[in-house]
Amino acid sequence: MANDRPLNQMVTAQWLLGGESIYWVAGKGWSDSFAEATVYADQATADAALAEVQEFVKQRVIVGPYLIEVEVDSDGPKPTSARERIRAAHNATFDIDHGSWTARIAD
């Protein structure tokens, strides 16, 4: 479908063995870092990148590649959804020390 606003996208996937979220850096390979990933400003190049990484699926290195939408400002790219923000952080958003409970044990 035609879309008037600029659409910035990245390719993301997960490692097959560990399941961690990863991002495609054109010409380099996969990175754990969302900030490093290549941003594609038009649908054709994004689709081409997605097609290119299918080889890693065949080689059983990654699983489930897909395109995500990102916003780009002077600080760099940012995910446009809560889901992708959380994925990019590689962890839950709350402290995994289980709140007061473990803190109290540690006393």
Binding site: L17, R60, A82, I86, T93, I96, H98
Partner: protein, 560 residues
């Protein structure tokens, strides 16, 4: 507790090796991800937002201290030092690696545990009343039947590729602590007019996108016919359940579209054909399994233990904890103790490896080495002597496992939500944490009284929001998290489905909105003995709507 014999032990070892082979074939390229996915799911392995997640089965919610120590070991070795107890009485690990899972399963098999059928379109791990075997007025012990169903359903050749997942629960009392009628099959152990024991089949309940209270399809199935009636039900479902639309594939949709009566007739027709064949349960096998659930050697104790009663009044904190966190035991001098996994600010149902080890030790010291998991994501020590209760509480306190909030508003059910889950629309755990901090005062909690607050991060309803007195459902609006509130649900014997309050709230508004709902209840109730759900049923949703939305459909501005 049930113990594996040579057959069970061999079987679980074989299943572990089969899965090891499936992983190897995936890594060798013999299986595509599309083919591997249902295979790994049938063994409880998901690919989530940040990593794989393994769901380990705790059949009918019962664990030994040895098993609990193994769960702690696995949390340390294959995870980040913790695990998450679920609403289906299982435990989930959030961080295992795919290539580690076969070894992890081999460790589980050493203590007679596995991850079989904790996911996938098959008969899921069976659940039961967490007070099975210790609660008074039980017609029979659901664990016996849970184990029989576990064996019958395990790698069932005919029912491993069902239209959709299939959940079975067993309870043995009129009181429903296991959300019986929200299951694909809810089994209530009953007696018929002749005094014989059997099962009432409530078939076609469920939550998810279309919440349905399971209708009574057959009032009495004799115990020797349990498996043949289950078989007949599953066969009708497997052949006629919808497979064209994932949201209409559960048995509840089939039962609704045929009508419970016609569905029951079709099952009956199939059942009459097979009931007197190989599926008839031999009494010897029931007796063999029952022997494992024989009561422990209780002491002869008086019902009234003066020093226990004295401690309750001498130490108000202890007294408050006993009132909130214990249940009556069928044997004089004993009590069933709930250990809340909902301390202030915690992730509901989460437990660290160190805490698991402590629970194992405490169960050895005070409860015959036995632990239960509840569908509300708490633990139970089912067999504690009243005279030991103060010592137990003191030791629980030392490790902060003494939160006196069972059944109160901070005893929140929450699914993992968008912090972990691939399906989620919104986070659940941080919402639960904010609410539990807002309602952290013990006096305020007990003043509000019984209030079931359940949070799901998406419409799949793993957090049971439809049947919470207050339900919170996470929804996605253009990539951002919003929360819809429902009121008036219940999962108990007075089961009801909650009603939507109005437009959804943002992540920053939801805590205030819930507080307004609860303040409205406190204003409106006839007195402290009228529970939230009773007040709601008396006055309806309108007074709550008015308070929360200020009489208009406009949302209140977000709090600072």
């Amino acid at each position: 507790m049930y113990r594996y014999d040579q057959f069970d032990a061999t079987f679980v070892r074989e299943r572990t090796e089969q899965f090891r082979g499936q992983v190897a074939r995936r890594l060798a390229g013999e299986l595509t991800e599309e083919e591997f996915r249902p295979l790994r799911l049938k063994n409880g392995l998901y690919l989530q937002l940040h990593a794989y997640m393994l769901r380990v089965a705790i059949p009918y919610g019962e664990l030994s201290s040895t098993q609990m120590r193994k769960l702690a070991f696995i949390a340390r070795r294959y995870d980040k030092g913790y695990g998450h107890f679920t609403t289906r009485q299982n435990i989930q690990y959030n961080w295992p690696r795919l290539d580690d899972v076969p070894d992890l399963l081999a460790h589980l098999a050493e203590v007679e545990m596995h991850a079989i059928q904790t996911s996938g379109n098959c008969i899921r791990n069976v659940t039961a009343d967490h007070l099975a075997g210790v609660t008074p007025d039980e017609v029979d012990d659901p664990r016996v039947w849970g184990e029989i169903i576990r064996q019958w359903s395990t790698l069932h050749p005919e029912f491993s590729y069902l239209p959709r997942k299939f959940k079975i629960v067993v309870i043995g009392t009129e009181t429903d602590r296991a959300a019986m009628r929200t299951h694909d099959i809810g089994l209530k152990i009953v007696r018929n007019d002749a005094g014989e024991m059997g099962f009432a089949f409530y078939t076609g309940g469920g939550q998810g996108r279309t919440p349905i209270i399971g209708p009574l399809v057959k009032a009495f199935v004799a115990k020797e016919d349990l498996l043949s009636y289950l078989d007949a039900t599953l066969r009708v479902y497997n052949m006629h359940g919808r497979r064209d639309n994932i949201y209409k594939a559960r048995i509840k949709i089939l039962v609704q579209s045929l009508g419970a009566e016609e569905f029951g007739r079709q099952v009956e027709e199939e059942w009459l054909r097979i009931k007197d064949t190989v599926l008839k349960l031999p009494e010897a096998e029931v007796a063999r399994i029952r022997s494992y659930f024989a009561p422990p050697t209780y002491e002869n104790l008086p019902a009234y233990i003066p020093e226990f009663e004295a401690k309750k009044s001498a130490d108000p904190d202890f007294g408050r904890w006993v009132r909130a966190n214990t249940d009556v035991h069928k044997v004089d001098g004993y009590i069933a103790v709930s250990i809340s996994l909902k301390p202030v600010g915690a992730a509901p149902g989460d437990m660290t490896a160190d805490q698991m080890d402590v629970m194992a030790d405490l169960s050895d010291a005070y409860s015959f080495g036995e632990i239960r998991v509840t569908h509300r994501q708490n633990l139970v020590l089912p067999n504690v002597r009243k005279q030991d209760l103060f010592d137990l509480w003191t030791r629980l306190k030392a490790v902060s496992l003494d939160e006196p909030n069972i059944g109160f508003v901070s005893d929140i059910i929450a699914c993992p939500g968008l912090d972990y889950c691939n399906l989620a629309n919104a986070r659940s755990i941080p919402v639960a944490q904010r609410l539990s901090r807002r309602f952290s005062d013990a006096k305020r909690l007990s003043d509000i009284g019984e209030l079931r607050l359940n949070i799901s991060g998406c419409i799949n309803a793993c957090g049971h929001h439809h049947v919470g007195h207050i339900g919170i459902l996470g929804v996605d609006k253009k990539g951002e998290e919003f929360y819809q509130v429902t009121l008036g649900g219940s999962s108990a014997e007075d089961i009801s489905i909650g009603k939507i309050l109005g437009p959804a709230f943002s992540y920053d508004q939801i805590t205030d909105a819930i507080e307004t709902v609860i303040d409205t209840y406190l204003d409106q109730r006839t007195g402290p003995s009228e529970r939230f759900i009773d007040t709601y049923r008396r006055i309806g949703i309108e007074p709550f709507k008015e308070k929360v939305y200020g009489g208009s459909k406009e949302r209140r501005p977000a709090a600072e």
